[in-house]
């Protein structure tokens, strides 16, 4: 998850003495493999763009299904990101700065959604917040419905996407030199002020890249959403669900949505790389 690690690694290998024969042999041996794999990644993505004409793309872009899905996705992913930052930052800071009994378990729990199959996450959320769920039945008693609403979409996204921000935030807080914070404290600033004026600015790059990754993962969320929020245009049909639904009818709409999603994802990852390079 920590992109800076990759960059360090890339730089050290690049700065290696490249004149040794073993090195050259290795490059010759690996080049075809590397090219083959890059082709494998590029061709499917490029094919999305090649199978639809620009006219058909623009026509699909005006389709209500596409517009609704695009807006719903952007709104829910933004809301999810807000909740993750609000809830996840204190947790990340706590785990970066303190040791307590059971911290390993808490850390594992935070990472769990990353390896959980999406359908499992969906069923788990339904069992918790469904009308007859462990928590949901109390909400139901007060007439509050969670499953199959836009709120359910947000909860599903928060559940699957939160680890990306929390892990990155924790690592960034850990990397902040404590002496700066102590200097701030001795100069008379309170804990909160030190956190916002010293810790956060130093950890900024990591926090932003973690946030962007969480946003991207929320945009791509499918399995948990369809189980827990269902599929309803304008209310719970996010882009991935709309892609799956339109595939059954109009493949052009599905391609159009796929292209938008790929472009957004590509821009997001590029942004993360740019930010971490500039600010670290």
């Amino acid at each position: 998850m920590d992109l800076t690690q990759f960059r360090h690694h890339a730089e050290t290998t690049r700065n290696d003495d490249g004149t040794r024969s073993g090195e050259r042999g290795l490059i010759i041996l690996l080049a075809p493999l590397v090219i083959l794999f890059l082709l494998f990644l590029t061709i499917p993505v490029a094919s999305l763009f090649l199978r639809i004409t620009p006219e058909a793309f623009l026509e699909s872009l005006g389709n209500p299904v596409v517009i609704d899905a695009l807006f719903l996705s952007l709104i829910t992913a933004t809301a999810s990101l807000g909740i993750v930052i609000l809830m996840g930052t204190p947790l990340a800071y706590l785990n970066a700065r303190t040791n307590y009994w059971g911290k390993e378990v808490v850390d594992t729990l935070i990472d769990l959604p990353i390896v959980m199959p999406p359908a499992v996450a969906g069923i788990a959320l339904l069992m918790a917040f469904g009308r007859r769920g462990v928590v949901g039945e109390y909400f139901s008693a007060f007439g509050i419905q969670i499953a199959f609403t836009t709120l359910a979409v947000v909860l599903a996204q928060v559940f699957v996407a939160s680890p990306f921000y929390i892990r990155q935030a924790r690592a960034s807080f850990q990397a902040v030199d404590r002496t700066y914070e102590e200097a701030g404290r001795t100069l008379g600033a309170g804990r909160l002020r030190v956190f916002f004026r010293v810790t956060v600015p130093i950890a900024w790059a990591g926090l932003v890249s973690g946030a962007i990754l969480t946003f991207a993962r929320a945009l791509g969320e499918f399995g948990a959403t369809i189980m827990f929020a269902g599929n309803f245009q304008g209310r719970t049909q996010t882009m991935p669900l709309a892609i799956y639904t339109t595939m059954q009818g109009d493949l052009n709409d599905a391609l159009c949505l796929s292209i938008i999603l790929v472009v957004i994802s590509f821009a997001v990852i590029l942004m993360v790389k740019y930010i971490t390079r500039r600010l670290v």
Binding site: L29, L30, L33, F148, T245, M247, G249
Partner: protein, 276 residues
Amino acid sequence: MRKITTLAGVLAVLLVASLLAAGCTDSAATAAPHETTLTVFTAASLTGAFTDIATSYEAAHPGVKIDLVFDGTQALRTQVEQGASPDIFVSANAKHMNALKDEGFMDNETVIYFVENAIAVIVPADNPANITSLADLAKPGVKLVIGTKDVPFGSYTRQVLDKMAADTAYGPAYKDAVMANVISEETAVSSVVPKLVLGEADAAFVYKSDLQPADKDKVQRITVPSEYNVVAEYPLGILAKSQQKDAASAFIVYITGPDGNAVLTEYGFDPVQASR
């Protein structure tokens, strides 16, 4: 450095070996005598019935293996159009089968209608919204699940509602009220029943065959009268590109024969005398 080179070499060899192995498995499997694998793309609503039929067929014909792939009909059709090559295609409506016929994917001579089905409403056993008739579906606050307009069971549902809207006993306001109660439009019948069984929805329009013997105590059925109902005809046929047409025909004969029909009836389908 040397270690890395060795490791890379080992990895490369493993990769090539695994790719070769993957390429070989198909031919190796077919080279063994009396070993036929039929791939059957089957509409999701037939999941229970075809699983049972395939199991009994394999028991009666050692050496034949039936690989069933279940999904919404149109998802399966898309897969065929994009190059998937099953031996048999079983569709939940004529539309998707006709499209495949017109595009030349089917061996058109082999396509027959083999069962009929109809639409019904199901509600959870404890019936949280107290639905006892079709009229109750229009009550405000009922949580209804239907299929998307492109899925066969979803388009049949809309046909049923249109017929009811055209009848003064219900009228257009009824249809609008029912559609306003929809909380989710599913892409395959198989994902609807669990939502009902869990009690997360109050009612759903599904096929009458979707109420399977195992679900009888969890879900109850409300019949849609025949004047509003549709006759859903299921065609099946052999793909033009199938390499095992004889084995495929033999399996179809079994499906449409007494053994297959008994299973289909048990699951709520109405077998028909095979017709083109």
